[in-house]
Symmetry: C2
C-alpha cells in the first residue's frame, strides 16, 4: 500500500522541474530599458488585476467554506473537513494561476529580446515559459490530490469498500469544488478583461484611428497586453488545474464503487487515475525536450508547428505505452462496477479510446479553424458581400463544426463504456488529460509570444523581431484552438463520469435513483430543459459583459485621443492606467452573476425538485454546454483566421484583396464578434459543466438524506427491483472482453 506515497512525489518532481526552468527564464536577458519599462507596466497591471480578483474570491471562499463546513458537520454522510479541502483546492488553483501569470510576465519580454537573435531562441524562451506553467499546474494538482488523499484516508481510517472510504472521497470532492470554482471565476473574469481590452483597442485604434496593433499611442494597448496574461495565461492555468483535478477525481469516485481484488487492498481502481496523472507529468517533461528547432531554420512557421507537434505526439505515444504497463501492473484481471464486469484490458482499451478521441478532436478543430481549409475559405468568400454575410458564414461554420466532434465524442462514450463500463468513460477522460502538462505548455507559449510581439512593437524594435514573434503567435493561435477542442471533449467525458458518480453517491446514501433518472418522465424532462438553458444564459452574460466593457473602453480611448494634446504624434503620453482600470473593474463586476448561476442553479434544482430532476438538469447542461462550447470556440477561431488570411492577400472571384479592402473590413467585424466567443464564453463552457456536476456531487449525500425519508418503494422492493435491473443491464449490454 505504500505505493500511494509515490503519487505526491510525482507532483514534487514536477514542481522541482518548474523551479529549475523558471530560474533559467529569469536568468535570460530582459532587453533594453524601454522594453523592461513596458514589461513592468504589463506585469503590474496583471498583478493589480489578480490582487483585485483574489480579494473578491477570498470572501467567496470564506462564505462557501462556512456553508460547506456546516453541511459536512450537520450531515452524517459528510464531514466538516470538506470545507478545509475546498479551501485548499481554491488556494492551489489560485496559486496555479499566479505561477502562470508570474512566469508569463517574465518570459514575454525575454522572448522579445531573444527574438532579436533568432527564432529558435525565441521559441526556446517562450516555450520554456509555457512549460513552467504546464508543469507547475500539473504538479500542484497531483501533489494536492495525492497528499490530501493520503491524509484523509488516514484521518478517517478508510479501507476499500467501506463507508469511511466513501467519506474520504466525498471530502476530496471539496478539493475539486474549490479548484473548479476558482477556475470558473478566473476564466470568466480573465476572459472579460482580455476581450474588453482587445475589442476596445481594436475598434478605436485599428479601425477608427488607423494605427497598427500594439501601437504605443493607443491608450488601451497596455490593457490589451495585460489581458493576454490574466485571461489566456492565469485564467487558462486555473481552468486546466480544475479540469485535471475534476477528471482524476471523477475516476476515483467510480473507482471507490468498483469491486476489485488486487494487490493494493482493493484500491487499485482508485489509485490508477492518480498514477496515470503522475506518470503523465514525467512523460510531458520528456516531451518538452522534443520541442526545439535548429538555429538555421529561418522564419519558418511549419518548423515551429512541427516542433510542438513532436512534443505533443511524443508525450501522447509515451503515455499510451506506459499506460499499458501501468494498467497491467496495478489492476487485477477483472473488476465489477454496478453489476457490470470489466477487464483490465478493457480499461487499457478505454484509455486508448480517450487518447484517440482527444487526437481526433484536435484534428477536427484544426480543420474548422485553420487558414487555407474549406471552412475559413468559405467565410473569406462571404466577406466579399459585406459584414452580414461574413457573420452568417461564421455562424454557419460554428454550428456545422459541432457535427464531427459530437459524433467522435458519442463514439468515444459508446466505445469506452462498452470496453470498461462507466469506469471506462472516466478513465478515457483521465487518459486524455494525462498529458495536460504538455498541452498547457503548448497553450501557454502562445500568449507569451503574443505579448512579446506587443512589447517589440511598443519598444519600436526592428521589424524582423516582430516577424519572428508573429510566427510564434500564429502557431499559438492554432494550438489555442485545438487545445479548446481537447478541453471540451475531456470535459464532456469528465462530466459524464461525475454524473455517474453523482448517481452512485446518492444511491450509497440510501436514495435509489438509478431507475428513476428516466428522460421520459415529465419532471426529469423539465429539468433537462432548464439545464440546457444554463449555457445559453451564461454565454449571453459573458459576451454581453465583453460588449459593454468594450464600449466603455472605446469611449475612454476616444476621449483620450480627443483631450490629450500630442497623443497622436507621440509627444503626449496616453493614460494607460485608466484603461487598465476599466478592464479590471468590468471583469470583476461582471464575473459575479455567471459564477453565481453556475454554483447556485444545481443547488436550487436539487433541493427544490429532488435528485431525479437535478439529474435531468445536469444532463441537459452538459449536452448543451458541450455544443455551445464547440460552436463558439470554432466560430471564433474561424473568424479570426479568416481575418488573418487577408494579411497575405486572398483571392475572391479572381481578384486579390488585402488589408483595408472592403472584404477585409467585413472580416474584422467577424473577428471582433468571435473574440468573446472564443476567449470568454466558449472556453468557460467546459468549466461550467464540470462545476455544476461537482456541486451536485458535493450536495448528493445531503440531498439523498433529505429524500430517503420518503422512499418511493420499500427497501425490500427496492432491493428486488435493483437486482432485476442489474441483471437486465448485464444481459443487454455484454462487455466486450479483450
Amino acid at each position: 500500500m505504500s505505493i500511494v506515497y509515490v503519487i505526491p512525489l510525482f507532483g514534487l518532481i514536477a514542481l522541482l522541474f518548474t523551479a529549475i526552468q523558471s530560474a533559467w527564464v529569469t536568468r535570460q536577458d530582459a532587453g533594453n530599458e524601454r522594453m523592461q519599462d513596458i514589461a513592468k507596466h504589463i506585469a503590474e497591471g496583471a498583478m493589480a488585476f489578480l490582487k483585485a480578483e483574489y480579494k473578491i474570491l477570498t470572501y467567496f471562499v470564506i462564505i462557501a467554506a462556512l456553508l460547506l463546513g456546516y453541511m459536512g458537520y450537520s450531515h452524517a454522510s459528510s464531514d466538516w473537513t470538506i470545507a478545509l479541502a475546498f479551501v485548499i483546492g481554491a488556494v492551489f488553483s489560485a496559486t496555479a494561476g499566479f505561477i502562470g501569470m508570474k512566469i508569463a510576465t517574465k518570459a514575454n519580454v525575454r522572448t522579445a529580446h531573444a527574438a532579436r537573435t533568432s527564432l529558435a531562441r525565441a521559441l526556446k524562451v517562450s516555450f520554456t515559459g509555457g512549460s513552467v506553467m504546464g508543469m507547475g499546474v500539473a504538479g500542484l494538482a497531483v501533489l494536492g490530490l495525492g497528499s490530501l488523499f493520503i491524509i484523509l484516508k488516514a484521518y478517517f481510517g478508510a479501507e476499500a469498500n467501506t463507508a469511511e472510504m466513501i467519506k474520504t472521497i466525498e471530502v476530496l470532492t471539496g478539493f475539486s469544488l474549490g479548484a473548479e470554482s476558482i477556475a470558473l471565476f478566473a476564466r470568466v473574469g480573465g476572459g472579460i478583461y482580455t476581450k474588453a481590452a482587445d475589442v476596445g483597442a481594436d475598434l478605436v485604434g485599428k479601425v477608427e484611428a488607423g494605427i497598427p496593433e500594439d501601437d504605443p499611442r493607443n491608450p488601451a494597448t497596455i490593457a490589451d497586453n495585460v489581458g493576454d496574461n490574466v485571461g489566456d495565461v492565469a485564467g487558462m492555468g486555473a481552468d486546466l488545474f480544475g479540469s485535471y483535478v475534476a477528471t482524476v477525481l471523477a475516476t476515483m469516485v467510480l473507482g471507490v464503487e468498483t469491486t476489485s481484488t488486487d494487490n493494493f487492498g482493493g484500491l487499485a481502481p482508485v489509485l490508477l487515475p492518480m498514477f496515470i496523472a503522475g506518470l503523465g507529468i514525467i512523460l510531458s517533461i520528456i516531451g518538452t525536450f522534443f520541442v526545439r528547432i535548429s538555429e538555421s531554420s529561418g522564419l519558418n512557421t511549419s518548423a515551429v508547428q512541427r516542433a510542438l507537434n513532436m512534443g505533443n505526439w511524443g508525450s501522447i505515444v509515451l503515455t499510451a505505452i506506459v499506460c499499458y504497463f501501468t494498467v497491467n501492473w496495478i489492476l487485477p484481471e477483472s473488476m465489477t462496477l454496478r453489476g457490470h464486469e470489466f477487464t483490465r484490458n478493457g480499461v487499457f482499451g478505454a484509455i486508448i479510446v480517450g487518447l484517440v478521441v482527444g487526437t481526433l478532436m484536435s484534428i477536427i478543430t484544426e480543420y474548422y479553424t485553420a487558414m487555407g481549409k474549406r471552412p475559413v475559405k468559405s467565410i473569406i468568400r462571404q466577406s466579399s458581400t459585406g459584414h452580414a454575410t461574413n457573420i452568417i458564414g461564421g455562424l454557419a461554420v460554428g454550428m456545422e463544426s459541432t457535427m464531427l466532434p459530437i459524433l467522435v465524442l458519442a463514439g468515444g462514450i459508446y466505445g469506452s463504456y462498452a470496453l470498461a463500463g462507466l469506469y471506462g468513460v472516466a478513465i478515457a477522460a483521465a487518459g486524455m488529460m494525462a498529458t495536460t502538462a504538455m498541452q498547457l505548455a503548448i497553450d501557454a507559449f502562445g500568449p507569451i509570444a503574443d505579448n512579446a510581439g506587443g512589447i517589440a512593437e511598443m519598444s519600436e524594435l526592428p521589424k524582423d523581431v516582430r516577424e519572428k514573434t508573429d510566427i510564434l503567435d500564429a502557431v499559438g493561435n492554432t494550438t489555442a484552438a485545438t487545445g479548446k477542442g481537447f478541453a471540451i471533449a475531456s470535459a464532456a467525458l469528465t462530466a459524464l463520469a461525475l454524473f455517474a458518480a453523482y448517481v452512485g453517491v446518492v444511491k450509497a446514501n440510501g436514495y435509489d435513483l438509478e431507475d428513476a433518472i428516466n428522460i421520459y418522465k415529465a419532471d426529469v424532462l423539465a429539468g433537462l430543459f432548464v439545464g440546457a438553458m444554463i449555457p445559453f444564459i451564461f454565454s449571453s452574460l459573458a459576451i454581453r459583459a465583453v460588449g459593454e466593457a468594450a464600449m466603455s473602453m472605446v469611449e475612454e480611448v476616444r476621449r483620450q485621443f480627443r483631450t490629450i494634446p500630442g497623443i497622436m504624434d507621440g509627444t503626449g503620453k496616453p493614460e494607460y492606467d485608466k484603461c487598465v482600470a476599466i478592464s479590471t473593474e468590468a471583469s470583476i463586476k461582471k464575473m459575479m452573476l455567471p459564477g453565481a448561476i453556475a454554483l447556485l442553479s444545481p443547488i436550487l434544482m436539487g433541493f427544490i425538485f429532488g435528485p431525479e430532476v437535478l439529474g435531468g438538469f445536469l444532463a441537459g447542461a452538459t449536452v448543451s454546454g458541450v455544443l455551445m462550447g464547440m460552436f463558439q470556440n470554432n466560430a471564433g477561431g474561424a473568424w479570426d483566421n479568416a481575418k488573418k488570411s487577408f494579411e497575405k492577400g486572398v483571392e475572391i472571384n479572381g481578384e486579390i484583396y488585402y488589408k483595408k479592402s472592403e472584404p477585409h473590413k467585413a472580416s474584422v467585424t467577424g473577428d471582433t464578434v468571435g473574440d468573446p466567443f472564443k476567449d470568454t464564453s466558449g472556453p468557460s463552457m467546459n468549466i461550467l459543466i464540470k462545476l455544476m456536476s461537482i456541486v451536485s456531487l458535493v450536495i448528493a449525500p445531503t440531498l439523498a438524506e433529505l429524500h430517503r425519508n420518503t422512499p418511493a418503494v420499500t427497501d425490500a422492493q427496492q432491493e428486488k427491483v435493483k437486482e432485476m435491473v442489474q441483471k437486465a443491464e448485464t444481459a443487454s449490454k455484454p462487455t466486450v472482453k479483450l
Copy 2:
C-alpha cells in the same frame, strides 16, 4: 358513439366559411392595371415555385409511401394502409400551403387598393385573407384527422383498449408524418427562397445602389415579394397544418393507452383532443368578428394591434370556457394512464396550463423583440460602436431570451404533468393549439400587408397608401414574432407527448424500455449528444443556404445594374424572372439535405442502436431544438426592430441618429444576419423536433419487434419490474386532485 361523426363536420364548416370569405376577397377591386400586372408577376412567381417544389416532393412522397407500405405490410404491428394515410397527410398539407398562397396573392393587391380608401378597409381585406388561410388549414386538419379516424376504425373494427385500436392510431400516425414532412420541406424551402431574395435585394438595392425597398428598378424586388408568399404564407400554412395534426395526434395516442370508463365506449380521451380542435375553429370564427377598427381611427398602429389582440384573446377566453363544459361532458370522473390516475378536473387544469403557457410565451417573446423595450434598446445602443458590437448585442439578447420561456415551459410541463400525468402534457399542447385558426389568421395577415406595401411602392401609388400598409406590416412583425414563441412552446409540449407515446408504442409491441431510457446510461447519453447536435447542423445548413443564395442574388443584381442600359432611370426593364429563378432553384436544391437529415437520423439511430438510444436522441434533439429555435427567432426579431427603430430616429448618448447614419448601417447588418435566423432556421426548429418524434413513433412497432427477440429479462420478470416501477411512480408522484 355517433358523436365521432360530428368532428369532420367542424372541418366542413370551417371550409365553408373559407369558401365564403375567399369569394368575398376575390370580389374586391384589384386596382389599376399596373397594380394588377405586378400582382400577376408575383402570383406567377409563387405558383412557379410551388409547382417546382411540389414536383420534387411528389417523388419523395412516392418513395416514402412505398417504404412505409412495405414496412406496414411486413410487420404484424402495423398495416400497409399507413402508406395511404401518409399520402393523404402530404396532399392535405400541400393543399393547405396552396390555399394560403392562392388567397394571399389575391388579397395582397386588393389590400393595396383598399388602402387607397382607409386603414380600416385595408385591415379588413388583409385580415380576411389571413383568416381564409387560418380556417382553411384548421378545417383541413380536423376534416382529415376526423374522417380518417372514422374510416380506419371501421376498417380495423377497432374498439377501445384493443390491439385494433392501437393499430388504428398507428396508421393515423402516417397522416401526421405526411403532413409534417411536407411542412418541413415547405418551411425550409420557402424560408430559403424568401430570405435569399430579401437579403439579396437589400444588400445591392438598399445598401449599394441606395434605392428604397420594393423599388421597381431593383431586379430582385419581384422575387422578394414572391418570397413573402412562398415562405411566410405557404411555408407557414404547411407548418401550422403539420403542428396542429401532430398535437392532436399525440394526445390521441396517449388517449388510446388511457383506461377510461365513459359514455363513448372508453374512447373519450381519444375523442377529446379532436373535439377541442373542432370547437376551437368555431370559436376562432367568432373571434374574427372582433377584429375590426373604426373608419375614423386614422393612422393608428395601436388600434390595429388592439383589434388583433381582441380577436386573439376573445378566442382564447372562449376556448377556456367551452373546454370546461366539453371536458365535463366527455370525460369520466377519473382515468388511468400507466398506473397514474388523474381526474377530468385535472385535465381541464392542464388545458388552462397550456393556455397560460402560450400566453406567457407570447408576452415574453414580445418583450424581447418589441421596439422601445430594454432588449431592443440595448442593441440600438451597441450599434453606436459598430457592426461587431451590434452583432454581439443581438446574439446576447437571443441567448438571454431563452431563459424565461424555458422556465415557463418547464413549469408548464411540471404543472400539466402533476395535474393529469402525461395525458395532461399532451392536452395542454392541444389546448394551446385550439385557436390555431385564429393564430394563423393573425400571422398570415402580416405578409399580405407586406406584399400590399410592395405593390403600392412598385405601382407608384401615393405615399399615404404605403403609410397605411406600413402600419399593418409593423403590427404583422410583432404578431409574427409572438406567433413563433407560441409555435415553439406548443412544439415542445407536443414533442414530449409524442416521446411518451413512442415509449408506449414500443412497450405495447413487446419491448419494455420504460425502465431503460435512463440518462445516466452511457449509450443513452451518447444518443442525447447526437440528438442535440442535429438542430445545430440543421440550422447551419439552412442559414448557409440563405447566405449562398443571397450571394448569387447579389451578383445577379449587380450584373443587371451593370449591363442593362437605362435600368436606373426607369427606361430599361430589369429581368425579374432571372432573380425569381435563382431563388427557386437555390431553395429547392438546398432544402433536400436538411430534410433528409431530419427524416433519416432517427431511423438510423433507432435501427443501429436500438430504442433506448433513439429515446436519448429524441430528448436531446427536442431540448436543443427548442433552445435554438428561441435563440434564433428572438435574436432575429430583436435585430429587425432595432433597425426599424432608426426610421423614426433614436437617441444614443444624447445624440439623435436616423437612417443612413453609421449606427443605422450597423443595425442593417444585424437585421440581415437575423433574417435567416428568424425566417429560415429558427421557425424550422419546431417542425424538426416534431417530425423526428413522429418518425420515431412510426418506426416504433418495427423497432420493438426487431428488439424483442432478445429480451433483456424474461416476460415474467418484466411484468414484475413493470408493476413495481408503476407502484413506485404512483407513490412518488401524487396526482394533484382538483
